[in-house]
Symmetry: C2
């Protein structure tokens, strides 16, 4: 309950970071593309899966979680979406916690369908099947409680979690999210709703199953929200490539060094390009970058 | 440009409505389930496709567009997502305009990936492929301009459109969307952003490629937004099952009876249940309901 499984893995590995698996063909070494079979979208999907598995093999013992971004799989059609399902399944077989970054949002029966798809299960001819089976899903709360409530039952029953977009990492996030209401900006109100939504799903570390996305690029807001939202676990994108630094993300964490997980995608996936090492070492370079990132963050926080 | 293709089809058919294809197994006649092959998620995906094709065959000459809801396909795994792609392709082969209801949202390169997935194309080994190929996509604007800009280039280059969530049809939509800013509620500001985003994509009917979702359940806001947002084409959910009536949706339309399209999903898909007719007539019952709905709306508006 309440991200306890994720927090235990963070404590075990001493690593409050998650690797985003957002694989574009451009990121993938040419030799690996040549090795895969098939044509068209099927070929691309096979390439993505081989790339992901190699990275997971190199990081699963030192990184608690992966965060596949749905868009990069949908870009390669249903074949790419099959790779999303297979990536999730593979990472879970290695004991990793999986956050599907889909930013899904809808209401009522439709949101129930998204919940069944990404976190739950469906029953067909009496057989219970798991379409994607992630541990957590990012969601967008613009539709209010009707869009969140359908998720909460599955969070409780199957020990899953969600991350609601609160203050996103991008430059224009303020256009809507910073709009001032009577006494606080909109993103703070969205955070308050997260506290309400998660109130009866609080786990042993004090965090609920309703987390929040808060960007590393807004360190002041991170600190402010850490105080305002004591039961909300943060997923923090924007470290590295988008300009967020380790000192800034330190504000996401509580006095025990818990309460948040920092994402890095491209810097890990493309570490071999930055290192200019042999492309065949891409997965080992990803591991080196994952370790560098962990140490960078651990310079500013200690996990109890 | 600017939903001209959709508006032409609305004028040709005299029908400002769209059929939502949100097929759950529960909605589908037992005989059709028995007829399909496969097991598990593949079987479910085959059933959904057979159901959708039969309905499309019965409505394509009288209804301008379909709106498949991504959640109901994802619920049946990548196999279900294959059915989404095949449904889109089939409807387009019959000349229908396809709105994928995915409410996608992200930023930068990730939003580009969603754009390529749902509206655009990808190039693999020199071959240009279309992963899903809808004509329009619903999107969520909570992330601001960074989440919308990546779509606009494809809207311009490939004559596609988007519908941004402005005021959604559900009871709790006000929790965020009705928050009062200095001089207007948040949803009105989101609408204003749609005007800005779409400003250079206005087509011959005066509407831009950036439409808005405004629920039939809020007729006063529909009327108010029709005046405030003169270049914004409305996708109007919530008619029928959610309680929105034809008189209320009339506010979505301009003096020429254009400017909006009203969605109905379950009432059309499940018309055979309400009619209590032979389940083998499900597609003909869907056609009868589509005609009834068109006439209901046309009692309140005339299309010029």
């Amino acid at each position: 309950m309440g991200f306890d499984r994720l927090i235990k893995k963070i404590r075990e590995t001493g690593n409050p970071s998650v690797v985003g698996l957002d694989p574009k063909l451009d990121y993938i070494p040419e030799y690996l593309i040549q090795e895969q079979t098939g044509t068209g979208l099927e070929k691309a999907a096979n390439v993505l899966l081989a790339f992901n598995k190699a990275i997971i093999d190199e990081i699963y013992d030192i990184v608690p979680a992966i965060k596949p971004q749905a868009a990069y799989y949908e870009m390669y059609g249903w074949q790419g979406v099959r790779t999303l399902a297979e990536t999730i399944s593979y990472a879970k077989s290695k004991g990793m916690f999986v956050i599907t970054d889909g930013k899904r949002n809808d209401i009522g029966a439709t949101m129930q369908a998204y919940t069944a798809a990404h976190l739950g299960s469906v029953t067909i001819d009496g057989e219970t099947l798991t379409p994607f089976g992630a541990d957590a899903l990012t969601v967008n709360g613009y539709l209010g409680t009707d869009g969140i409530k359908p998720l909460l039952e599955t969070c409780r029953a199957e020990d899953k979690g969600i991350f609601v977009l609160v203050k996103t990492s991008n430059p224009s996030s303020g256009e809507i999210q910073d709009k001032m209401l009577e006494d606080a900006p909109l993103y703070a109100k969205m955070g308050d709703l997260c506290e309400t939504w998660g109130a009866d799903t609080i786990g042993e570390y004090g965090y609920s199953a309703v987390g929040a996305v808060v960007g590393a690029t807004y360190p002041e807001q991170l600190k402010e929200l850490r105080i305002r939202l004591p039961h909300i676990f943060f997923l923090v994108p924007g470290y590295g490539a988008q300009g967020g630094g380790a000192q800034g993300v330190a504000g996401a964490f509580d006095k025990n060094g818990l309460g948040g997980i920092v994402n890095s995608s491209r810097a890990v996936m493309c570490a071999y390009q930055k290192e200019k090492c042999d492309p065949k070492e891409f997965a080992k370079a990803a591991r080196r970058e994952a370790i560098r990132m962990k140490e960078d963050i651990r310079n500013y926080i200690s996990i109890k």
